[in-house]
Point group: C2
Chain length 201, copies 2
Amino acid sequence: MTERSRPLRADAARNRARVLQVAYDTFATEGAGVPIDEIARRAGVGAGTVYRHFPTKESLLQAIVADRLRQAVERARAQTAADPGEGLYAFLWQMAEQGASDLGFSDALAGNAFDLVAALPDAEHEFMGMVAEILDQAQRAGTVRPDLEASDVKTLIVGLQAMRRFRSESDLMLRVYPIIRAGLAPPRTSPETGPDPAATD
Amino acid sequence: MTERSRPLRADAARNRARVLQVAYDTFATEGAGVPIDEIARRAGVGAGTVYRHFPTKESLLQAIVADRLRQAVERARAQTAADPGEGLYAFLWQMAEQGASDLGFSDALAGNAFDLVAALPDAEHEFMGMVAEILDQAQRAGTVRPDLEASDVKTLIVGLQAMRRFRSESDLMLRVYPIIRAGLAPPRTSPETGPDPAATD
DNA sequence: ATATAATCGGGGCGTGCGTTCCGGTTCCCA
DNA sequence: TGGGAACCGGAACGCACGCCCCGATTATAT
């Protein structure tokens, strides 16, 4: 990513890490609307220091969101490996939960703050590739209707995150997830294919 | 609501109506973020005039959102009367569409701008009463699973509006609505109730 | 240790927006 | 028709925020 032609000075590297860590937590807790001055104050540095490492607020958000996307990809891949049929569902619930605990991430995905994700073609591409992957696994396992596409999954994530910001986790889990799950299940109206009955639960 | 002990002066009443109409259209088209100065300019009045009739920006938004809620109630009731089984679905699609064409309304429902709806207990109550009503009709017609509650419908509206802001109307119509519809349909795994087969279409 | 350059930090600038103020204008009623 | 109150409009205030500047400070090489 960021080329370091010369190694950063020791204090500079430490401050950069502090800023990134604080911004990471703060944007997650309070959304992308937190002022840079506030980030700087909590990191114990001046605003100028923040802007030296991240020339604009958007670039700071980008660095964070790219990392979040990569984390999501890793977790989803691990879950899918453990249970291909449930991987997509676990991923959806997890992304919904992240929409509540990580307001900045949710803003970025839905495009509320900036066009963050659009400005991160690499991370976006990797993310969508992973979605297509776990979707395919679930479809092979017979737990998800075959006409679902990766872009539909992204749309559903946006909707689930909005709902999660509106309702508690348990509410969503008990009352909305069954609906989504039923809607994503393969249709059973004409059991011509007659696949093995859902062995999930 | 606003008590009018004395009738408004003629020019004042006209200006109030102009402001309300312009704000109505502008907030719908461009969201709740449009400055009051801009509303005033388009209405051909000064900013002071806007603030005389609506002491705060929030109060102006409230007046508009309350009216929108009432309109939605009327339309939904009419549609449900025409086709009880389809009323709830038509209502959901319509609210999703309003989430795109009326950004201010969507912000209000999801609580993004202010706590608008929470500050309108009357309109909110009427709205939720109507939701419960058309939900009951659809459940009696057998087109919606019986365990669905009115609050779930509101949650779904929030999610659908977020998805609609993210995808085009046709995308949502073709790819998301079938999923939601399947998820809301009564379960058919154990057809013990055996109601009259869906006479909707 | 000292010179030199990188880095720090917080005060400051420009902008945008909600809200208020007040001199001038317009309407209503006698 | 005239007087007084209600109303108008836009300039101005306060605040918040993104971003920049520059004297003071600190790290590194000799």
